[in-house]
């Protein structure tokens, strides 16, 4: 398959006077998982939202997929270009059923072919969605909604999936399955940008990772190296609740 790259250059995002992201450069390739680590407020969600076109004005950047400039496109055009986002807070259609949410996931023209197969895949990934396909998504439990959000994003047959804290609210066993599945999806040729608080687990499946601190990228490299780096461990793997960590709160 062609080597398409999702590249972000000089991304700056500000909410009114408040600047959330400054000159971010990053890239992700199809087939790899890129983890983004950072404490809260670092700007991880803003980064993903910016790529997905949700920030609108107040953003300046070069965002491109395989050379195609995305920075000025509307969210729906960006999805068509092959990037789909699982946003912070899930963004489900609460008053629509699980099935309808998933079908809408494949609304993109690029995704209409092979919709049934993908639906089957999602159902096998999260059986609960199959059992409840007629339930209103708003009435699903927290974790169930998380599953639906991920499933819906995959329905768009994306080249790149941006996941904002996908394991949020998932039971451990489901989380483990999810991470294994993500790895498999990547291996099948989809690029994954993963914002996770569950640093240890995400570093385990990621190929590379970026470190963010208040709006900047402060580091990065292969997941393995970072996982081994004591500094990173102290900052993100929180070895036991020492006072230092408490003061950081």
């Amino acid at each position: 398959m062609t080597e398409t790259v999702l590249s972000v250059a000089g991304l700056t995002v500000s909410y009114g006077s408040h600047v959330a992201l400054r000159g971010i450069d990053m890239e992700a390739r199809r087939g790899e998982i890129v983890a983004i680590l950072g404490s809260n407020g670092a700007g991880k969600s803003s980064l993903l939202k910016a790529i997905a076109g949700l920030v609108g004005k107040g953003m300046e950047a070069q965002v491109a997929v395989g050379g195609k400039d995305l920075s000025l496109l509307d969210p729906h055009e960006i999805v068509e270009a092959g990037i789909s986002l699982v946003p912070e807070g899930r963004g489900l259609f609460g008053d629509l059923t699980v099935a309808e949410n998933l079908r809408l996931g494949a609304f993109a023209r690029r995704a209409r072919a092979g919709e049934p197969e993908r639906l089957a895949k999602v159902f096998s990934m999260f059986p609960r969605l199959g059992e409840r396909h007629v339930q209103l998504s708003r009435t699903m439990s927290g974790g169930e909604q998380q599953m639906l959000a991920i499933g819906r994003a995959l329905m768009a047959a994306p080249d790149f999936v941006l996941l904002d804290e996908p394991s949020l609210g998932l039971a451990p066993v489901v989380t483990q399955q999810l991470f294994m599945t993500l790895r498999r999806i990547a291996d099948e040729g989809t690029g994954i940008v993963l914002v996770e608080q569950n640093t240890r687990a995400s570093l385990k499946i990621a190929d590379r990772a970026y470190l963010m601190e208040n709006g900047h990228i402060v580091g990065g490299g292969s997941a393995a190296d970072l996982g081994a780096d004591p500094a990173v461990q102290r900052a993100y793997l929180g070895l036991a609740g020492d006072g230092a960590a408490a003061r950081q709160m």
Binding site: L37, N40, G89, S141, G142, Q146, R200, M249
Partner: protein, 242 residues
């Protein structure tokens, strides 16, 4: 230890689906108890039944012996049960301080005016939002909003505190801080019932746990023991290693 909260025979149906079935457990004065279970097993629903956002179909919820099942939420809140929400709920266009005051102003022995402001600042400092009282809640990040929510709950000076996945979405460092915070609350004698999927936190915080599956309680007791039960492992933990 005496039981502060006693739940028995609690049942809630949604149409055909039984979200909570004959649930029974008790929380002791001053302990931190975990409420675990796979997604959709009925934990939040149980929390809602205790805090009054939902009325149980059958069963009783006793706070210090008084049955509060089916009473209106504000009465239960004044009666000493405070809660946080699985999806954060803060009031966007109020200042952080006002959000906390909303917890102080309507409790059993309300605070208002200057005294409320002072107390609010104390609580904010307590959850690590010291000095941010002036900004609008909307401008906080997800995690800070969770902190704010906790401060608001504490403002009610509750007998029992219900935390629904309050630690979710914190990174390791923040998690440690969060855990310490809950610890300190427990040490001050606040009784806590917490829903969590973060096992490390459960291990460090909870003396006892209740595990639900498909609406029913499938295990209860000492955390370590419960976690070792095969039923719990297969239904919930998997070969966990986080």
């Amino acid at each position: 230890m005496t039981a502060l909260l006693e739940v028995s025979g609690l049942t809630k149906r949604f149409g055909g689906l039984v979200a909570v079935r004959e649930a029974a457990f008790s929380v002791n004065e001053g302990e931190v108890m975990g409420l675990l279970g796979p997604n959709g097993s009925g934990k939040t629903t149980t929390m809602n039944l205790i805090s009054g956002s939902l009325k149980p179909d059958t069963g009783s919820v006793r706070l210090e012996g008084r049955d509060i099942a089916g009473r209106r939420p504000h009465a239960i809140a004044r009666g000493g049960i405070a809660r946080t929400f699985q999806l954060v709920r803060v009031i966007d266009d109020m200042s952080v301080r006002e959000n906390v005051i909303s917890g102080l102003a309507f409790r059993e022995n309300p605070l208002w005016g200057v005294s409320a402001n002072v107390e609010a600042e104390k609580l904010l400092a307590r959850v690590g939002l010291g000095g941010r009282g002036g900004v609008f809640a909307a401008e906080l990040t997800y995690v800070d909003q969770k902190r704010l929510e906790l401060a608001r709950a504490l403002a009610l000076s509750p007998r029992l505190l219900l935390l629904d996945e309050w630690l979710a979405g914190l990174n390791a460092t923040e998690l440690d801080g969060g855990i310490d915070l809950i610890h300190s609350l427990a040490n001050e004698g606040v009784t806590i019932l917490m829903v969590e999927h973060v096992m490390s936190a459960i291990r460090r915080l909870c003396s006892r746990c209740v595990v639900m599956n498909a609406g029913a309680v499938i295990a209860a007791g000492e955390t370590a023991a419960v976690m070792a039960e095969p039923a719990v492992i297969s239904a919930y933990l998997g070969d966990e290693d986080d």
